[in-house]
């Protein structure tokens, strides 16, 4: 699998888990990870938001058809071996990932929240990680896309 991390800062433990999970799936041939611009931090929280774009392996198969409804021909159809829904099923079977918090036909969304209390501190901060997974070529749902 080709992995493009050039637009990712590397922040996000769950994002890394998703990347690792994608690397175990044979139906994914390309994965691009990006920082989303909504990431930000304050005294009380650290909000990490990343986006993953996956490209599925394609297979060709012969389909019988008729030209003008009369002449039988064989056409070759190329189709992906997995869909976003199939990817959701695959993630559900991986303990570290599990089912997404939200899914529609073009996106899987994971929201992970954790309280981090550094050594010698009592209060700590909230770590929120929002990860969206799309198929390559799908439009992103992030804020700056609305212009």
């Amino acid at each position: 699998m080709n992995l493009d991390k050039t637009q990712w800062s590397g922040e996000g433990i769950f994002t890394q888990a998703l990347v690792d999970a994608c690397q175990t799936l044979e139906d994914i041939i390309f994965l691009r990870v990006e920082d989303a611009p909504a990431s930000r931090a304050d005294v009380e929280f650290n909000f990490i938001t990343n986006e993953l774009y996956v490209q599925f392996r394609e297979r060709s198969r012969a389909v019988q058809a008729k030209v003008f409804g009369l002449f039988p021909v064989t056409r070759t159809v190329t189709e992906p071996t997995m869909t976003v829904a199939g990817l959701e099923q695959a993630f559900c079977g991986i303990d570290e990932i599990g089912p997404p918090d939200y899914a529609d036909e073009g996106m899987l969304q994971y929201l992970r929240t954790e309280r981090i209390v550094p050594p010698y501190q009592t209060r700590g901060y909230k770590l929120v990680e929002l990860v969206r997974v799309y198929e390559v070529g799908s439009p992103s749902r992030r804020q700056d896309d609305d212009g």
Binding site: R40, F45, F47, D101, Y102, M107, Q109, L111, Q143, D144
Partner: protein, 148 residues
């Protein structure tokens, strides 16, 4: 008897006509009053400012702007209509100004809600938040004179 009953009918007819005239006069006066007073009513009505917040990526944005959780400035006594549109897929959000006891319901993706508020006359600051995500979704409302 016949003479009296004819007179009664006459009185009733006269009373009915007087009543109808009174109704017409009242309606005419009311319409005239509306015509005369309506322009004044429109002219003296202060405009309501509309502020639409969009919840997206666990953040509030003023519609059409890109500053996350922006500070909202209001003039003293200004009447404002706040609207919240939830554009965050799969995450419910609301808008609450706790100091003013204002809060929308929790909105599912794609839903909107509105409330109206008149800013106090004295300068003040209030925090607006999304109640379930208050640590990261919130900003300030500052009521101050426009010459800030």
């Amino acid at each position: 008897m016949g003479e009296e009953s004819r007179r009664d009918v006459g009185y009733r007819r006269a009373g009915g006509i007087r009543g109808a005239i009174a109704v017409v006069v009242v309606i005419a006066v009311a319409m005239l009053s509306l015509l005369v007073l309506f322009p004044f009513a429109v002219a003296t009505r202060t405009p309501v400012r509309e502020i639409t917040l969009v919840a997206r990526d666990m953040t509030f944005y003023v519609e059409g702007e890109t500053t996350p959780n922006p500070t909202i400035w209001l003039a003293p006594g200004e009447e404002v209509q706040f609207s919240l549109h939830n554009a965050d897929p799969g995450i419910a959000h609301n808008l609450a100004i706790m100091g003013w006891q204002l809060e929308t319901a929790r909105l599912e993706t794609g839903a909107s809600a509105t409330f109206r508020v008149r800013a106090p006359e004295d300068p003040t600051r209030q925090r607006y938040v999304c109640t379930p995500h208050r640590q990261m979704m919130g900003g300030l409302i500052v009521v101050a004179a426009p010459s800030r």
